[in-house]
């Protein structure tokens, strides 16, 4: 159960990954954002204390869907494809923008 509703392409092979310590099933070719939002209702917490977020633009423009891996690597949810065994963390680290 989740926020996004699958309407087509549902016969793809399943892919198992971990989101915040829970094993979930996604489908091959899903983005990380779709994997999270077909298994839940939000994607991350705003670091400004104004509650939950689920991303916004899906086209790599708004930068509101970044999550982390347990190794600390940062991923943009809408433009990263899921891979079996991924371990995603949606809470925690604060954001910082790098100097140019």
């Amino acid at each position: 159960m989740g926020r996004f509703v699958r309407l087509a392409e549902t016969d793809r092979p399943p892919v198992s990954l971990e989101i915040d310590g829970t094993m979930v099933t996604a489908l091959a070719g899903d983005t990380v954002q779709v994997a999270i939002l077909t298994n839940g209702f939000a994607l991350r917490e705003s670091e400004f204390g104004d509650g939950l977020r689920a991303g916004f633009c899906l086209m790599a423009a708004c930068q509101d869907c970044w999550v982390w891996t347990v190794e600390g690597e940062r991923l943009r949810g809408c433009s990263t494809e899921v891979a079996a065994g991924m371990r995603i963390v949606t809470k925690g680290s604060t954001w910082q923008i790098e100097p140019s």
């Binding site: 699958r6 087509a8 070719g29 689920a54 633009c57 086209m59 494809e81």
Partner: protein
């Protein structure tokens, strides 16, 4: 001549046709696109392993989608194509690229920017709640992932994408709870003479709208949205009807958008001159009829220059490529360029028509409550912007940015820039063009923490 490097940013319709034309002249252009596959926005491709046919994905546009994809595939080795690669900065005829976590540089003799557009957003209270996505996002979820953004979806805003996405959703089996259009039927009728410049486009728009009405999907025009309700996610949208009656529709997802805005950051980094465009209410890079900017060797094509749509983007891509080739000293038939210019001529008239039919609701900015978030990156509210206008006297957007951080977040003003400038202009009581424009900065998008330099 063959050692001249033409760098094309964007592999949508404009970038594809530009690459094809440059390759036809015997050069091997470098084509960089951040996306995993070519196609751009309208002809966005589904991932490998997905099986819906082109007709399902692109509808009336499937013939053109197949043609553009085919043209790109046919280029094969005659172009140096680098997918999944972001151009994050431009400096002294070099583009700074990032592929995964690997950074590299690419020198160029000519640069064609075909960077496309993103949704134009007017915020409203509650728009940061989970379940609110851009209208374009709603379409991408379906096109690229086979998903709807929710189980009861409201599509809100205005523009040609609004009835189109509603139609695509309903056809795919999603529940469209309502289509809420801020534009009026009167405006659409006033726009008819200009829209008639492209009868085919007009006919498609009418078809989608008629289909939705026939399918019994509530379609309300002339509405004013007031707030999105919910705590941990969207629960309802509140709006005022054209007659001033307060209404509410229960929903768990909203697709929000008011037309498109050109993606111009790279043109800014290339130091192109900008001019205020009264139709788009956006500062756009100034170009000549062929796409030349004020910076020698830098050209623009497609929606990144002006929102003229995919057909115009294909023509503009070819024309900008011709201009670049010509400036590199490669002969281009005059008649060819004249034909492209003639084909582009009716497109701008149509753009004015679209803006008349589906106006950007600039006046909503003045009505935003002080508590409404405008910048979703850093939670800067309409009240924060009004404060810097009134108390600190910020006379233009870059000062307002310095005081309030508006547009300094990780989206670099892509989502908040248009509305933020309207809120500021309203608070200062000046015209929009007087508050200026946010200047671009590299990196145009955040870089991963561990970025290495390619050998």
């Amino acid at each position: 001549m063959a050692d001249r490097t033409v760098l094309i940013v964007g592999a949508g319709p404009a970038g594809t046709r530009a690459a094809e034309r440059v390759a036809a002249a015997g050069l091997r252009p470098v084509v960089v696109d951040e996306a995993a596959a070519n196609g751009g926005q309208i002809y966005r491709r589904q991932p490998a392993g997905f099986r819906r046919p082109a007709q399902t994905l692109y509808g009336f546009e499937s013939g053109k989608a197949v043609a553009v994809h085919g043209a790109f595939a046919a280029l094969g080795d005659r172009i140096d194509y680098r997918p999944l690669t972001l151009v994050w900065h431009l400096w002294e005829s070099e583009a700074h690229l990032l592929t995964g976590t690997t950074a590299s540089r690419q020198q160029y003799d000519a640069l064609i920017l075909a960077t496309g557009a993103t949704d134009r957003i007017m915020p409203l209270p509650g728009w940061t709640l989970p379940g609110v996505f851009s209208l374009g996002a709603a379409q991408i979820a379906l096109k690229a992932q086979g998903c709807a953004i929710g189980s009861r979806v409201v599509l809100l805003g205005t523009g040609p994408l609004l009835p189109l996405v509603a139609y695509q959703y309903a056809r795919a089996g999603a529940t469209v709870a309502a289509v809420l259009d801020t534009s009026t039927l009167g405006a659409a009728i006033r726009a008819l003479p200009a829209l008639a410049a492209r009868p085919g486009m007009l006919a498609k728009g009418l078809y989608y709208t008629a289909w939705l009405l026939k399918a019994g999907i509530p379609f309300h025009r002339g509405i004013t949205p007031t707030a999105i309700e919910g705590t941990d996610g969207v629960a309802a949208i509140r709006y005022r009807t054209a007659d001033g009656i307060e209404r509410q529709v229960a929903c768990d997802a909203i697709g929000l958008g008011y037309g498109l805005r050109s993606e111009t950051q790279l043109a800014d980094l290339a130091r192109c001159d900008f001019a205020f465009d009264a139709v788009a209410r956006q500062w756009l890079p100034a170009t000549d009829a062929d796409g030349r900017t004020s910076t020698p060797g830098v050209y623009l094509a497609g929606d990144g220059a002006r929102i003229l749509g995919a057909d115009a983007a294909e023509i503009a891509g070819k024309l900008a490529a011709c201009a670049a080739l010509q400036d590199l000293g490669i002969a281009v038939p005059d008649a060819e360029m004249a034909a492209y210019r003639a084909a582009l001529a009716p497109m701008d008239r149509f753009r004015v028509g679209l803006d008349t039919a589906y106006p950007w609701p600039a006046h909503f900015a003045a009505g935003l409550p002080d508590t409404a978030v405008v910048c979703r990156c850093e939670c800067i509210t309409a009240g924060d912007i009004r404060d810097v206008a009134r108390e600190k006297g910020a006379p233009e957007v870059n000062r307002a940015k310095a005081f309030s951080r508006l547009g300094m977040g990780r989206c670099q003003g892509r989502m908040c820039g248009a509305a933020g400038a309207e809120v500021l202009a309203d608070a200062l009581g000046v015209r929009l063009e007087e508050v200026g424009r946010l200047r671009g900065q590299g990196p145009v998008k955040p870089l991963p923490l561990a970025t290495g330099i390619a050998p």
